[in-house]
Symmetry: D2
Subunit: 379 residues, 4 copies
Amino acid sequence: MKKKIPVGILGATGMVGQQYVRLLAGHPWFEVSYVAASPSSAGKKYKDALKNGWFFPECMPESVANLTVCDVADVKRAAKECAFVFSAFEMPDKDAIRAAEESYAAAGMPVFSNASAHRHTEDVPMLIPEINAQHLDIIPAQQKSRGWKRGFIVVKPNCSLQSYIAPIHALLQAGYEVKRVIVTTMQAVSGAGYPGVPSWDMIDNMVPYIGGEEEKTQFEPYKIWGAIEGSVIVPKEDIAISATCTRVPISDGHTASVSFEFGDKPRRPRSGVGVPTGASGKPTVKEIIKVWRSFAGEPQKLGLPMAPQQAIHYREEANRPQPRKDRDADKGMAVVVGRLRECPVLDYRFVGLSHNTVRGAAGGGILNAELAMKKGYIG
Amino acid sequence: MKKKIPVGILGATGMVGQQYVRLLAGHPWFEVSYVAASPSSAGKKYKDALKNGWFFPECMPESVANLTVCDVADVKRAAKECAFVFSAFEMPDKDAIRAAEESYAAAGMPVFSNASAHRHTEDVPMLIPEINAQHLDIIPAQQKSRGWKRGFIVVKPNCSLQSYIAPIHALLQAGYEVKRVIVTTMQAVSGAGYPGVPSWDMIDNMVPYIGGEEEKTQFEPYKIWGAIEGSVIVPKEDIAISATCTRVPISDGHTASVSFEFGDKPRRPRSGVGVPTGASGKPTVKEIIKVWRSFAGEPQKLGLPMAPQQAIHYREEANRPQPRKDRDADKGMAVVVGRLRECPVLDYRFVGLSHNTVRGAAGGGILNAELAMKKGYIG
Amino acid sequence: MKKKIPVGILGATGMVGQQYVRLLAGHPWFEVSYVAASPSSAGKKYKDALKNGWFFPECMPESVANLTVCDVADVKRAAKECAFVFSAFEMPDKDAIRAAEESYAAAGMPVFSNASAHRHTEDVPMLIPEINAQHLDIIPAQQKSRGWKRGFIVVKPNCSLQSYIAPIHALLQAGYEVKRVIVTTMQAVSGAGYPGVPSWDMIDNMVPYIGGEEEKTQFEPYKIWGAIEGSVIVPKEDIAISATCTRVPISDGHTASVSFEFGDKPRRPRSGVGVPTGASGKPTVKEIIKVWRSFAGEPQKLGLPMAPQQAIHYREEANRPQPRKDRDADKGMAVVVGRLRECPVLDYRFVGLSHNTVRGAAGGGILNAELAMKKGYIG
Amino acid sequence: MKKKIPVGILGATGMVGQQYVRLLAGHPWFEVSYVAASPSSAGKKYKDALKNGWFFPECMPESVANLTVCDVADVKRAAKECAFVFSAFEMPDKDAIRAAEESYAAAGMPVFSNASAHRHTEDVPMLIPEINAQHLDIIPAQQKSRGWKRGFIVVKPNCSLQSYIAPIHALLQAGYEVKRVIVTTMQAVSGAGYPGVPSWDMIDNMVPYIGGEEEKTQFEPYKIWGAIEGSVIVPKEDIAISATCTRVPISDGHTASVSFEFGDKPRRPRSGVGVPTGASGKPTVKEIIKVWRSFAGEPQKLGLPMAPQQAIHYREEANRPQPRKDRDADKGMAVVVGRLRECPVLDYRFVGLSHNTVRGAAGGGILNAELAMKKGYIG
């Protein structure tokens, strides 16, 4: 049996860090060999360093439970003990996160980050591997301009996008021009980390606002759909997106109610990937569902271990998707979509759902690393 | 002290029926003197006929607790014991409800109904007194064509509209043409009555679908904004409305995330009620909030007992309205609105909230009766 | 109209502090004239100093909204502006709270505290006015030994006791000796203040542990039932109490499942307050319910404004009390009890409920002040 | 590969029936070949007969989805198509269930039932295989007296017992006499089936009563601990049990707060299974935990597929067990226990948790069938 690649987790004791530990248990390629956290945890065994306990029903993997937590500032030690790191920092100071991630990259370690610190950095790719796998191509330019040799930084977008961007992208890829999207999200509390949202606000209640979330939800797709020009990724802003983000009393699983409109130009698919369109020039409900069900990106083509077998699951039942029942579909990595129907204002509307701490956080980070691995950027 | 008017409640043992009993306790004009339900409850004292118990924290009013429940089929008795009735039927058979309500009207009793049975009936006004109080003018025609003397039927619309129709109407009334509205509702479980939504579906979960609700939410505003032509109310369908209705784990209080667009024609207010508009021709955020805060309809002008002092409350805080904290504003009769801001797709967006079993059900029914009373249609 | 007594609230911006503001609105004797909080809030208007917003559905009282928040360290100013203070400190440092409360008392102000800092202090009475109103008699001794003139400190017990101590005490007072009590509490999240319990732990979940709560629940009754001997209150430990305290996903209202056993000595009531006992020597279910319903303490006898009309409400329905439906009984100041029945292990068992932030916190503090006022200790 | 045994599920479309389908997917010995339900479902494909949909996150097993649902009255067909049946009837009529189960047994099919209909039947064993596996020995007598050849009936107890009976039994088995047990349960809504508990009662609320549950919780252990005498099982009633059963807003997982007392006779363990006791004659906390952790019954010894590896999991953390985090321990078949500590009234107290629809329903039924299979009663 081939030896697994040793990986590290920065911010390993927080909720996203623990999610990495959980999801990497039994991973066929990677093995958690290094866990780092703030100085107050350093020196303790991982299982003793979790001041809020282990968050999940599954047992803590024995092999990680007994690792000694290192200080995140000890980059040298990390460089000795692992091939690359996942960054699951939850501290509020973005400058500090940005600097920390850069120090790891400078020390030769690829960094796959969940933090928002580098999402706006022009030469850092923000990946959803089914959508913009090609953005990895910017890595050589990133390394060159910063003087890094083996290290680099890759980030993933905010969890709130995941429920609607894949279904919209599948249509774009099939040759249909989408011009306007209005989305209302109903987001789970785990999106705010731990302790996160006080229970006082989530019992018999919802909160129609999440600080900073709507801006991320509206902007980040532009970068994901952007193009590499020289050494930067130039955002593509030709879809108008309106997002209202709300918090509802649900543990995991972000739901989105989405209406969208096609563009004015002929909506013929540009290739055989698409399907014949309706008389109006717009695709029919059936055609759209077909596009979604046949949508596959690099992770599916490459057979990446963390990839969902099917990127988009479409449910026919009128009352799906539902968070508790659908968030774990395909290991929590699929987007589950339902209720596609005509919209009296825009063209169509649907409901999307994705697991915010799996697909939207740690699972997405692992998929990024798998893609980079397969593409030859690691090691 | 003037003697109060004796009123009856049909379907008095259900959740909406109980809400009537609760809200009418201490009413300055009306007094519950008659409660009717299915034959299985008839003959019992009201307090003993509630097979699921009393739903509210407040004590059951002593005077109603000891009333004997009558059979809803016993219209004659009702005609002796009360001046008019509230219809809070919860049975699924619309034809039966329609017939029952007509039999009460035929027996000379005005009927103020919460049921959906007569909402599509052309000569039956569907009232939100702040919006279409003038629809009461159809009553003589209704009575004439049906051969009724003192009786008539007035209905109220579905609870899901209340969170957004008043704010939109306030703009229309101020002279701004609104052309397109996209709304996603997050509705409380009491909207489904009792037993209603199983708790299995509402723990760590939401359901993105409520049977029939989107159709009502999209169509009923047309009738409310309609015009009396001869002996019918002709719906006015010139606003495109798209509604996605979801159920969330909240006891009371429907929330709506709303985006809307103004029309193309000059958006000058037609009277002093409005305010100067922004450079673009559209009103500014400030102007809209001013319109909402100054919005008052017949209930406010007439000082009806159940009327909220202010029909629309606008909250400045970023994270309001919230159901548990705002649903009881102004006796549960106000619409609470917040988060007005520009929409990148349509013109503006906001979040609205209203109490679905008060303003959206029994409280709304009482307000209808108060209006009819003040306008001289009762007695 | 008589002028109201000006009162202050220490820690006025926290959840309990806000509860005081809410409950004192319209109080017939007292008027909030002074609000104090940490230095970071000092100088702001009260309405602008609530960094987590106003917690309640009711509007913030206008008169308090515009008060300027003072620094809690500014005891002199408090002494000028109010006659006494409510202490609603939520900071974790008990020594600091103890010292702060003493500094207010030393400056001549009676202090009615919700904090646990002084609950173990031997000369500080811990009051439930229906049970141990006579403990106020220790105030002169407290003042003398500390050299205070008009100031003194009175505390209230933990919210977790309230659901079961009044029913047990009513039996003691009626002459029945109770020897053993086993209680499991199911406590609401507001008991932990704000932000308090993370919603991640309260969605589809409960937590069978609350740090320090069981010790308080077991010990504090001993002091409440204690006797003044010289200048100290000597706890009376002759009832064995076992408490398991759990946290459940409920906003307000602590529920307790209680089993108890009478003592071996003859259980005849010592006075006419009691009722004839059953053949076994133990009171019957009927007798116990009669004792509870007729239980009245000083607050009822004196007609204190905050007192519930009936201290213990007994509900006959099999499925009551329930938190959302019963917590607000009698202004949230009553204990609601139900399900009294024989226990196969001890003698009887019942379920009790009380509102933890009204009776169990601010409402209880106000009642203490009312009692002290009526007894002549203020002013 | 050996051919699997074809099994049937009666009441296959309800919540417990679906749980059987889910848990039997991939079972090493059994294969669902037959699904039966009421006549209204008969003739439909299983996937089309679920009028409330599929309740679980996992996909419906393809092989069952396409089975045709048969009428439960068609016993002959069942006898042809399966070797034995699981009874998951949810209809309220116990007589009908009793008769139906007997008709299957009479037709030669062993019946493993979740229903309560036969729990009081003297010659029907009520199994928790870790506790009373020997009760299977009554099957020959049951068959003889009823004239059945291959068929028989085995039932499982109510879900509410599972959280505390195994820990108590482990102590009995280790030689410690337990005399008194007081338990308060906090039960999940799935225990009431679907639609079950209305969400109106489970939002910001709990209900301190479940009809019939306390009687079951108190009586059923007596039968489980009973002895076969001739052709009947004689309950052993020498432990006093007091149970208060409450419903809390949790989807799955019953929690129990338990206090217990040892008997007066010497508490020496009767064999090497136990451990040396404390000075007082009672076992210490350490000793009890050791007893629990080493507790193993027939399922563990026989290595039954559905058996938890460890029947009782003891958690050291102060705040465990918690339903969402611990209910799935060991496939949802383990009892998770924590918080063992002295009780000021009885001897000790602890908190137990078990998954009510896995261990407490379908999983328990499967374990019963596995035991019967291994013991040679099937086929």
